[in-house]
């Protein structure tokens, strides 16, 4: 008879935000690691990069839990598919951060041209900014629902999504710049150095790519 206790299903949004917090934590830790890398403090960097790996595991576990609890038997304010794909994308952000951490751990960079290191650091910062904005976006999405899809809250959400897209654009530019730099400095760099640099760049821009995909899903959640 206690219809009440059963009628309300657990909303996926609080767990989504919890997952997002871990993802945010992962990218922020990567940010620290990248800063150490740039400063040349490799020992400290290693410790932090290992932490990135651990946090990514935590995010994975939360992701599994959310997936298991999101049955098709729910009537939700947003489409279930959108939530699941969004979760996948949000998790990919942490995956990409872990990939970068792996590349950082794989070897010490030796003597890289300082302008190369600068562009990489810049790419990292921008990419991580996109990931941080994703966290803001999902928190705002909760508020959109809280308000009963009020126009004002929806436009705030669109503004965050727009920012994520513009950050992602900027990174595409930095990516091209880095590729040019690698080839301009071809004589100073070994084949391994080039491979190393370009892979770090690829994984870093992946973070913002996935952040953009996640933002796209949030946009879809709002126009059911």
């Amino acid at each position: 008879m206690q219809v009440w206790t059963k009628l309300f299903a657990k909303s996926p949004f609080k767990p989504l935000i919890k997952h997002s917090e871990v993802v945010l934590n992962t990218v922020e830790t990567l940010e620290k690691a990248l800063q150490r890398w740039y400063d040349g403090d490799y020992e400290e960097m290693r410790k932090i990069a290992v932490e990135v790996d651990r946090l990514e595991d935590v995010a994975d576990r939360i992701k599994e839990e959310i997936r298991d609890s999101l049955s098709s038997k729910l009537m939700m304010a947003v489409a279930r598919e959108d939530v699941l794909i969004y979760l996948h994308m949000q998790d990919k952000v942490a995956d990409a951060a872990e990939d970068t951490a792996k590349w950082l751990l794989i070897r010490e960079p030796g003597e890289l041209p300082v302008e190369v290191k600068e562009v990489i650091l810049q790419m990292g910062m921008e990419s991580i900014k996109a990931a941080k904005l994703v966290h803001e976006a999902i928190v705002q999405m909760d508020r959109v629902i809280e308000s009963g899809f009020a126009d004002g809250e929806i436009s705030k959400e669109y503004e965050i999504i727009r920012q994520i897209e513009s950050v992602e654009n900027k990174i595409d530019g930095l990516d091209t710049k880095l590729m040019q730099l690698v080839f301009e400095n071809a004589e100073k760099l070994s084949w391994g150095d080039g491979f190393y640099i370009l892979n770090i760049a690829r994984t870093l821009s992946n973070i913002s790519d996935k952040a953009k995909d996640a933002a796209e899903r949030i946009r879809l959640m709002m126009n059911k």
Binding site: T5, K6, L7, F8
Partner: protein, 405 residues
């Protein structure tokens, strides 16, 4: 057995049924407020106990009359024993079915059970012709319509509430004006119902314009001044929720009152029927329901809330985390209005199902984040099986009593 003994038996059975209603259903009436953390379970128990009793005692009469003599054609019952055995069978069947259904986790309605029980014994006794099908159709229609009406109403109230407050350019300013409006509107309905139910007014227009609207306006100004003096926060979301948290205590009480008025009949309708026979014989069909029987039902419900409802509310308080105060207000306001209007028309509708309808309405307005579709399906199934199953059980008990008695 003497008629007095049977009366005593029905009194005990009726009280037990009222207890069950109080233990389960009545707790649901305060659930939105407990779930939205507007009151503690303990406070809810006290408020619900008092208001359920008040609703049952003062407003429960018209629905009780429907249960007592509206479902079956009284002129076709010539043997007073039939009415006695039938009432006992209906009460027992409803209680049994409630226990079985609870065991299987089916959310069934006490209202549906008792009506199924009454129809069941009637059909066994005199065939389908004894059932007042016009009334029965009306009753069944109201079961289907009330959740739908509840849902539609909750949908639009929630939409309008968010549009008028959260979507404005200056939400805090519009919250200051619109919160008193919505609260006032709730009191228009409360005032109107006071006129119809307590003062037994007949003219809806008089009720609305002489009682509802003036009360609503007074409440509007009082709330307006209170909010103007001290708006709880500069954030409209937090501020509005804080205001509605206080109001929700009242609207939840309003649901408890409506529930008492409507559902007390399920327990005491059959008792009243036996009482009439015991005191007046078959001519007792004309006797109105005495006050003490209403009090008995009200007391049973209140005791049920106090002894068992507490546990229900505690679980609810822990489980419903998805309910904000504005949503709780919307659900309460819509459900109570539908239930009160129905009980004014003498229609025994299911409170639980109306509330469920209202929850779905808010869900459709994209206000509730997630609703369990399985439960909704179970409720719909229970609509279709409760009446026939309770009817069959009642028929069997009735046959047995007729042979033994």
């Amino acid at each position: 057995m003497a008629v007095e003994v049977w009366l005593l038996i029905t009194v005990v059975l009726g009280f037990a049924m009222a207890w069950a209603i109080g233990a389960n259903d009545a707790a649901n009436s305060m659930s939105t407020a407990v779930g939205a953390k507007a009151i503690t379970p303990k406070q809810a128990v006290i408020i619900a106990g008092v208001l359920e009793f008040t609703g049952a005692y003062f407003f429960g009469k018209s629905v009780t009359e429907t249960i007592r003599k509206g479902i079956l054609d009284p002129t076709m019952i010539t043997d007073p024993n039939v009415l006695i055995y039938g009432s006992v069978a209906a009460l027992l069947a409803a209680t049994l079915w409630l226990i079985i259904a609870t065991k299987f986790g089916l959310p069934v309605s006490t209202t549906h059970s008792i009506i199924g029980g009454i129809a069941g014994y009637g059909i066994v006794y005199a065939g389908t012709a004894i059932v007042n099908w016009g009334k029965m159709t009306q009753v069944v229609l109201s079961w289907i319509l009330s959740p739908i009406v509840g849902a539609i109403m909750a949908y639009f109230i929630f939409k309008a509430l968010t549009k008028s407050i959260f979507e404005r350019r200056d939400p805090v300013r519009s919250a200051r004006i619109w919160s008193p409006f919505w609260i006032g509107l709730a009191f228009v309905v409360i005032g109107t119902m006071f006129y119809i139910k307590v003062l037994h007014g007949k003219d809806l227009k008089t009720g609305v314009f002489m009682y509802g609207v003036p009360l609503g306006i007074v409440v509007f100004f009082v709330t307006y001044v209170l909010i103007k003096l001290r708006f709880p926060s500069s954030d409209p979301f937090i501020g509005v929720e804080a205001i509605f948290r206080k109001v929700q205590v009242i609207t939840s009480g309003y649901v408890a009152l409506a529930h008492g008025a409507n559902d007390v009949a399920n327990a005491i309708g059959p008792v009243a029927a036996v009482y009439a026979v015991a005191t007046m014989g078959l001519s007792g069909m004309q006797v109105p329901v005495p006050k003490w029987i209403l009090a008995l039902g009200g007391l049973g419900i209140a005791v049920g809330v106090a002894t068992y409802g507490y546990r229900v509310m505690e679980t609810v308080g822990k489980k419903i985390t998805e309910l904000t105060n504005t949503r709780g207000f919307t659900i309460d306001f819509s459900a109570a209005t539908v239930v009160l209007v129905a009980s004014w028309m003498g229609l025994p509708i299911s409170t639980t199902h109306t509330v469920v309808g209202a929850v779905i309405g808010v869900g459709l307005a994209r206000g509730v984040k997630a609703i369990n579709k399985n439960i909704v399906r179970d409720i719909i199934i229970s609509w279709f099986i409760t009446v026939p199953v309770a009817g069959l059980i009642s028929a069997a008990i009735f046959k047995f009593l007729m042979i033994v008695g």
